[in-house]
Amino acid sequence: MSRSLEAALRTKRAAGQKLLVPYLTGGFDGWADCVRAAVANGADAIEIGVPFSDPVMDGPVIQEASWKALDRGATPQSVLDEAADLDVEVPLAVMTYYNLAFRAGHQRFAAGLIRAGITGCILPDLPYIESAPWRLAAVAEGVEPVQLAAPTTPDHRLTELCAASRGFVYSVGLMGVTGGRAALAESAKVTAARCMAVTDTPVLVGVGISTPDRAAEVVQASDGVVVGTSMVAKMMAEGPEGVGELVAEYRAAIDTSSVN
C-alpha cells in the first residue's frame, strides 16, 4: 500500500522531529534487507536508487553500486518488484534518471511506482524547467515528483520549483556529484535556508552529507537530510547490519541536534 511521502514527513515534522532519509541502491545484492535494517533503526522514509547506465549526478561510490546491480541483472522492473515486497512502515521514493521514465512513458512509469507501493520520485537530470510534462502525469497517478534546488538556482526559479515540488524539496548541498567531502559546504545551509524561506513543504538536504556530525549541523537550517554515499558504502562493505548501525548513528545525531 502506498503511503504519501509528504504527509508522513509533515506529520513527523509537526511532532518536532528532524527527518532522516537514507538512500540505498536497488538491485544491489541484499539491498532489500538493508532497507529493512534502515527502517528498523529510525529512517523516516527510504530513497531507492534505480540503477541507470549513465548516472551523471553520482560520484564513484554510488556509480559502483549501480554497476554492480546492473551486472547482476537488475532492471527497473526487478527493483520495483522487490520494492513491492519490502513491507516496511515508512514511505518510499525512487531516485533514478529521467530516461527510464521517458522510455517507459510518463504515465506507465508513474503507475508502475504506485503499483510497487512507491509514491516519491526524484529525477536529478530532469531540472524544473523541463519537468512540467512529467509532473503532470506523475501527480495524476498519485506520484509525488520531488524537485531539486541547487546553490546556483536563481530566486525566481527557486520559489517556483519549491511550490511545484511534492513529497519534499531536495535541496542540493553543494555544487558537485554525490559523495563525501572534506567539510560541509557552506552552500548546504544557505540553499536550504533559501528554500525554507519560500515554502512550507519539508526541505531535505542531500549531496555531501557524509557523517552524522554534518547531518546534525545541516538540520539546524533544514527539516532533514538525505544520506546516500555513506549508506551505500556501508551496504557494499557490511550489508544490513552495518547499514542499521549507521542509520542509528545518524538518527541519534540529528535527534540530539534538534533537541538543543
Binding site: 541507470f52 547506465s53 549513465d54 548516472p55 551523471v56 549526478m57 560520484g59 564513484p60 556509480q63 554497476w67 546492473l70 532492471t75 527497473p76 522492473q77 529521467y98 530516461n99 527510464l100 521514465a101 521517458f102 522510455r103 517507459a104 536529478p124 537530470d125 530532469l126 531540472p127 524544473y128 524547467i129 523541463e130 524537485q147 531539486l148 534546488a149 541547487a150 546553490p151 546556483t152 538556482t153 536563481p154 526559479r157 520549483l161 542540493v172 555544487m175 558537485g176 556529484v177
Partner: protein, 384 residues
C-alpha cells in the same frame, strides 16, 4: 527555416532541450546569453574568423578527387578539413568556445574526447589562450589513441582516463559533466559536438557553419553557380555534418549523414534523454543506454545531436550506415587513389559514396573532416 536558431527552450522540432541537473541550468543559461551577445557582436565574429584564418589555416580548400571520381563514375569533391591546424574540423569549435570562455572570464577548459581529435583541439586552443585544460577520455580510447594522448600532454593538458561504464566517449561525457558541476564558476565545458544541453547543439553548429559557408561558395565557383547533387559527411555526435549541412540546408542538395553500423543512433535509435538532450539514442527496452561499437573512436557514441534527429524526422537529411569493413576499404582506397590518408571517421562518408550505386553520374561533396595520421597505428594492426 531549415537549420535556423532553436526555439527558446532549445528545441529543434521535438528534439534538444536542457536535461541537466538543476546545478548546471544556470551555467547553461549564462552560456546561452554570452553566446547570443558574442555571436551578434561584429568584433567577436571578426576575431573568431581572424583566428581561424591566421592560426587555423582557413579557408580549407575543396579538392577535386579526379582519380577516385573516374574510378567510381561520379564527380567527387572533398572539403579538406583535414588540412586545418590540429588535423580536423574540430579547431573551428574550440576556437569559438575558447574565445567565448575568455570573454566570460573563465580561465579553465574541460573537455571530453573520443578519438582524441577534440581533446587535441581543445588543448591547442587552451595553450593558445593561456588557459588550463583538462580532458576526460575513455580508458579504451586512451589505449587505442595513444598518439593523441601524448599530443594533448605535449600541449600542456591533463588527460584523465575514464574507467566507468563502457570506458569510451559516452562515459567521458558523463565524467566531464560531473567535473563541470563542481568547478562551473571558473571553468568552461568545451563540449566537442553538436550535442548536450541547449545552447551547445546550436552554438557548436554555428562555430562549424564556416565549413558549409565556405564550401557553398567554393562549389558555386566549380559548378557554375550550382550546388552538388549530394552533400555528405560522417555522423557520430554530428558536428562536422552539421557545419557542412548548414551551408546547403536551403539549397536543393541532398544531405546525407553516414553513421557507423555499430553506433547508428539515427538509423537504429529511438528517442531518449542522455547528456542533456532529447534525441535519438541507442538504448534497451528499459531505457538503459547501449554501448556503441565502432572501429572509429570518434564515432563510438550511442546518441546523436538533436538537430540531426530533427533533420531526419523532417526528411531534410537522410542517414546511412556503413560497416567497419567498408570503412577499412575506403580508408585504403582514398590513400592510394588520391594521396590523402583520411581519418577513419571521414572514411565512413567515403565508404557510403563508394557503395551506393545511386550516386553514379552525380556530383558529391564529401566532408573530409580529418586526416588519418592518428589512425595509422590502428590500421597497421588491422591490415598486417
Amino acid at each position: 527555416m531549415v537549420m535556423a536558431e532553436p526555439s527558446s527552450d532549445g528545441r529543434f522540432g521535438e528534439f534538444g532541450g536542457r536535461f541537466v541537473p538543476e546545478s548546471l541550468v544556470a551555467a547553461c543559461e549564462e552560456l546561452e546569453a554570452a553566446f547570443r551577445t558574442a555571436w551578434s557582436d561584429p568584433v567577436f565574429v571578426a576575431e573568431f574568423h581572424r583566428v581561424l584564418k591566421d592560426y587555423g589555416g582557413r579557408p580549407s580548400p575543396v579538392t577535386e578527387a579526379a582519380q577516385l571520381s573516374k574510378k567510381l563514375g561520379l564527380r567527387l569533391l572533398l572539403k579538406r578539413e583535414d588540412l586545418n591546424h590540429t588535423g580536423s574540423h574540430k579547431i573551428n569549435n574550440v576556437v569559438g568556445q575558447a574565445l567565448l570562455a575568455a570573454r566570460m572570464g573563465k580561465t579553465k577548459l574541460v573537455a571530453e574526447t573520443g578519438a582524441g581529435q577534440h581533446g587535441v583541439a581543445t588543448a591547442t586552443a587552451a595553450a593558445m589562450m593561456g588557459m588550463e585544460c583538462k580532458v576526460y577520455m575513455g580508458a579504451v580510447d586512451v589505449e587505442r589513441q595513444a598518439l593523441n594522448v601524448f599530443r594533448m600532454q605535449l600541449l600542456g593538458a591533463e588527460v584523465v582516463p575514464v574507467e566507468s561504464g563502457s570506458r569510451t566517449l559516452k562515459d567521458a561525457v558523463n565524467e566531464a559533466m560531473r567535473h563541470w558541476v563542481a568547478v562551473v564558476e571558473d571553468t568552461h565545458y568545451c563540449l566537442g559536438s553538436v550535442m548536450g544541453p541547449h545552447p551547445y547543439p546550436w552554438m557548436v553548429r554555428e562555430f562549424h557553419r564556416v565549413i558549409g559557408d565556405e564550401a557553398r561558395e567554393q562549389c558555386a565557383a566549380l559548378l557554375d553557380g550550382g550546388v552538388p547533387d549530394v552533400v555528405t559527411a560522417c555522423v557520430g555526435g554530428g558536428s562536422n555534418a552539421a557545419g557542412l549541412f548548414s551551408g546547403f540546408a536551403d539549397s536543393d542538395a541532398e544531405l546525407v549523414g553516414v553513421e557507423p553500423a555499430g553506433g547508428a543512433a539515427v538509423t537504429r535509435g529511438v528517442p531518449g534523454v542522455v547528456h542533456g538532450m532529447l534525441s535519438y539514442l541507442m538504448q534497451d527496452e528499459d531505457g538503459q543506454v547501449l554501448e556503441a561499437q565502432s572501429i572509429s573512436a570518434g564515432l563510438d557514441y550511442p546518441g546523436v545531436g538533436p538537430e540531426h534527429a530533427h533533420l531526419a524526422k523532417t526528411g531534410r537529411a537522410t542517414y546511412e550506415t556503413v560497416t567497419d569493413a567498408e570503412v577499412i576499404d575506403a580508408f585504403g582506397l582514398l590513400s592510394r587513389t588520391e594521396g590523402i590518408i583520411p581519418a577513419l571517421e571521414s572514411a565512413h562518408a567515403l565508404a557510403w559514396v563508394v557503395r551506393d550505386e545511386r550516386l553514379r553520374g552525380k556530383t558529391v561533396l564529401l566532408n573530409l573532416s580529418g586526416r588519418g595520421d592518428k589512425d595509422v597505428n590502428q590500421m597497421m594492426d588491422i591490415l598486417k
